[in-house]
């Protein structure tokens, strides 16, 4: 049980760092226990964006926090693989370059697991294999399959 926990912690930490580098184009991130000897202590997340000092999570910007959180969620699949991903406007705080990087990463993930994303962001939508449009008519929602024009890939 203890070995399983430590092995998972290590694997998720390594994967967090890998996803972090993909999203930030550099820097590093890792997981550790608040009290390394005590297996029941809390989990610390440390992140250092490229070209910056390592910071408390609180000092990161809104967009940087979003990227760290997404890297962490994707890294958890090293423990138990996700059957699918359902993300509702996770990109709300992201600028264009980071949205592009996220879109690329989601395309990669989508080769292994189903990815369903709700978004208003052009950068993300144009990378999708399929797009559904939701409209409201007479107070009731309708869903249409949209044709992607000049798709990104």
């Amino acid at each position: 049980k203890k070995e399983k926990f430590l092995a998972t912690l290590k694997a998720v930490s390594v994967e967090l760092d890998r996803r972090f580098k993909q999203l930030f184009g550099g820097g590093e991130a890792k997981l550790s226990l608040e009290a390394p000897g005590d297996l029941s202590s809390g989990l610390l997340i440390q992140a250092r964006p490229p070209g910056k000092e390592p910071k408390l999570l609180d000092a990161l910007s809104g967009g940087e926090k979003t990227l760290v959180a997404i890297a962490f969620v994707l890294a958890l699949s090293e423990g138990k693989p996700a059957p699918f991903y359902l993300f509702d406007e996770v990109d709300a705080a992201l600028d264009k370059p980071n949205s592009e990087r996220l879109a690329g990463l989601l395309r990669e993930i989508a080769r292994e697991a189903q990815v369903i994303v709700i978004s208003h962001n052009e950068e993300l939508i144009r990378h999708a294999d399929r797009v559904y449009g939701v409209t409201m008519r007479n107070g009731s929602s309708r869903v249409l399959a949209l044709e992607l024009v000049g798709n990104a890939h």
Partner: protein, 166 residues
């Protein structure tokens, strides 16, 4: 496994029966504010067993479609078809099928679950989904506005996430 189809009738803003096919790969859902995108996600977590409080609705009645004229439908039903081509769910099924359907129907005062059309207890749906490591609160479902919530938890609550996937 993956989600193959979601059918929504009378749930939240879906007054008209709507059936959405899903496929592996990368799907985007778009639309103006207030059109019902997050309600699609709510429909999925609803059929998996989420309580109405977690679905931005105070009471179960608030999940029943109400028209702009104020008429509320008597019942709502959501059904979810999951892929079972690799036999993930076979352990709890009478016999193998390539697809598994779970559904949930509510009225103002009742809530009924079904697997392959047969009425069953909420706990049985939970057990079936756990064979594919699916649960409504799974780390792989991120609700609107909640993306950085995982960083804002206390270190102890974050550690629980590692325990869950270990």
């Amino acid at each position: 496994t993956y989600i193959k189809r979601l059918t929504i009738a009378g749930f939240k803003s879906f007054g008209k029966k709507t059936s959405i096919p899903f496929y592996p790969g990368f799907t985007a859902i778009v639309g103006e504010n207030g059109t019902g995108k997050s309600n699609i996600l709510d429909a999925i977590t609803f059929v998996m067993g989420y309580r109405s409080r977690a679905l931005r609705a105070g009471k179960i009645e608030h999940l029943l479609y109400t028209s702009p004229k104020g008429e509320t439908v008597p019942e709502a039903e959501v059904s979810l078809v999951l892929d079972n081509s690799s036999g993930t769910f076979d352990e709890l099924l009478p016999s193998h099928t390539d697809e598994v359907m779970i559904s949930r129907r509510i009225t103002a005062s009742s809530s009924t679950y079904r697997i392959m059309g047969k009425v069953t207890a909420a706990g049985d749906v939970e057990k079936l989904l756990s064979l594919a490591d699916i649960e409504p609160g799974g780390y792989y479902i991120v609700e609107q506005g909640m993306v950085t919530e995982v960083l804002e938890r206390s270190p102890r609550r974050r550690r629980e996430l590692i325990e869950e996937v270990a």
